[in-house]
Amino acid sequence: MMEIINEYVFSVFFVETLLNGLLYGGVLALLSLGLNLIFGVIDVVWICYAELVMLGMYTIYFMHVRYGIPLIPSSVICVLMVALLGYVLHRIIIAHVLGKAPINQLLATGGVLFFLQSIATLMFGVEFLSLGVSLGSFQLTEDIYLSKSQFVAFIVAAAAVAGMYFFLSRSYMGAAIRAISQDREIMILMGVDANRLYGITSAIGGGLAGLAACLLALQFDVHPFVGISFGPIVFMVCVMGGLGNLVGGFIAAFVFAELIAIGGYFADLEWGTVLAFCVFVITMFIRPEGLFARKS
């Protein structure tokens, strides 16, 4: 027994696996933050959230590869573009299904999912497009190498999550955004125009999706169905953390990423996702409201 533990757990590969899980967790945390914010404030689940990320990945691909704009300005354009998409999505779709039966909201945003996938297929084709940027890897210790693009993604995602934390806890707008998620009706008494706040929140959620798109484009090729590879995981992270609970989603993102990494370490890579999904299903049986659900 001890031999097995020594061989598997104290090996540098295991440490590397944990670190990779941590890095992936950062991006998952960023993705789940956007979705959770939208749900917490507006009370609608953007089923098409991953497809906004997909369009963001196309945006940065076209800006950088086709138009030759440097990576950083391309990323800024990408974030603004998806922020605008989030705002437009709210204005033309979500605003009309607010307060309707949840099934109608799911159908509406689910419809947008297929719409965006089809539009992307029509416009860009089904080929896998690569940003063609390789940052290489760097040596952390003698035996541990980490991918630089993953590391950059983690740092940027962590900075964005921290920035959102300060925005939500220190600014008037942030306080109002948290307040409206607790009591929508009385916000009028505080002088808050709820529709304007919803529009702003949608733009912020879109902007976070756009930022995640930039980070994912560094690691993955873009194609119309790329959303499938992380969209379901992001939803499960949010549900596991308690939908709308930003802190819960943050923790769940790392739990999920580590489960995927560890599962992949002990078996094949695909088994990592299987392990994470199994834990998710069991969690849902034990705590249907999520690991960090609030009491009321």
């Binding site: 008037y172 306080a175 109002a176 948290r178 307040a179 607790q182 009591d183 009706e185 009385i186 916000m187 009028i188 008494l189 505080m190 002088g191 808050v192 125009d193 709820a194 609030r294 009321s296």
Partner: protein, 234 residues
């Protein structure tokens, strides 16, 4: 200051308030009393724009507030302490007060207003970092009043401030209202606790089944045989 003229309001097809006219002058404290379901809360909600008017007009210092967007009404100097306090339970006391100061014209005075509220309610200063939902009912009422006072209002609307509180706390709440009056604020208060509220206001209106039945000074209403029988039970 606040003139409610021939106002009709309700929810959907249901009319909860019919042709009500009420006036509150600067510096006065006025109560609207009446039984459950008389339309008292509807009146408050209509004033602050939470529900649209079906008829009539409401003017604040000569400016019609029926025609401006509902979220701008607080900027005319009307602050509303809602029924059941409605604090943001998972936010701290100070964060609740910050949301009360959200509208752009108020933000510059945040520090000054915070100091004012903390002076009025030293207990709130002690509990500034506590989550609002974990406080006692009386403290929550202080926080709700404080949140409304953050906008430096000219008139304070209070919807059933004593509802759901223990008798001892109810006494404290009416004491709070006296202190707010002493600050020179104009107050319009809706209450079912008729005997208590008539002791802190100058005048009162009696609302029954959506219609104003009586109005008069507190002394008159306290002396009225009908009201004593129906609402005070002595």
């Amino acid at each position: 200051m606040l003139v409610i003229d021939d106002v009709t309001a309700g929810y959907g097809d249901f009319t909860a308030l019919r042709n009500a006219s009420i006036e509150v002058k600067a510096g006065e404290a006025v109560a609207v009393i009446g039984p459950n379901g008389a339309g008292k809360s509807t009146l408050m909600r209509a004033i602050s724009g939470m529900i649209p008017l079906k008829g009539g007009t409401i003017t604040m210092e000569g400016q019609s507030i029926s025609s401006i967007p509902a979220h701008k009404i607080v900027e005319t100097g009307i602050a509303h302490v809602p029924e059941n306090r409605r604090l943001f339970a998972r936010m701290s006391v100070e964060e609740n007060l910050r949301v009360g100061c959200y509208a752009k014209p108020f933000r510059a005075a945040f520090d000054k207003r915070l100091e004012f509220v903390y002076e009025l309610f030293p207990r709130m200063k002690e509990r500034r970092n506590q989550l609002a939902g974990t406080m006692s009912g009386g403290e929550q009422q202080m926080c709700a009043i404080g949140r409304a006072l953050m906008s430096d209002p000219k008139i304070l609307l209070m919807d059933e401030p004593s509802a759901g509180l223990a008798p001892v706390i109810v006494q404290q709440v009416f004491e709070l209202i006296r202190r707010i009056r002493a600050e020179g604020l104009t107050v319009l208060i809706v209450e079912q606790n008729v005997q208590q509220v008539l002791k802190v206001v100058d005048r009162a209106y009696l609302l029954e089944a959506g219609t104003i039945r009586h109005s008069g000074s507190s002394a008159e209403l306290l002396g009225s045989e009908d009201i004593r029988k129906a609402y005070i039970g002595v």
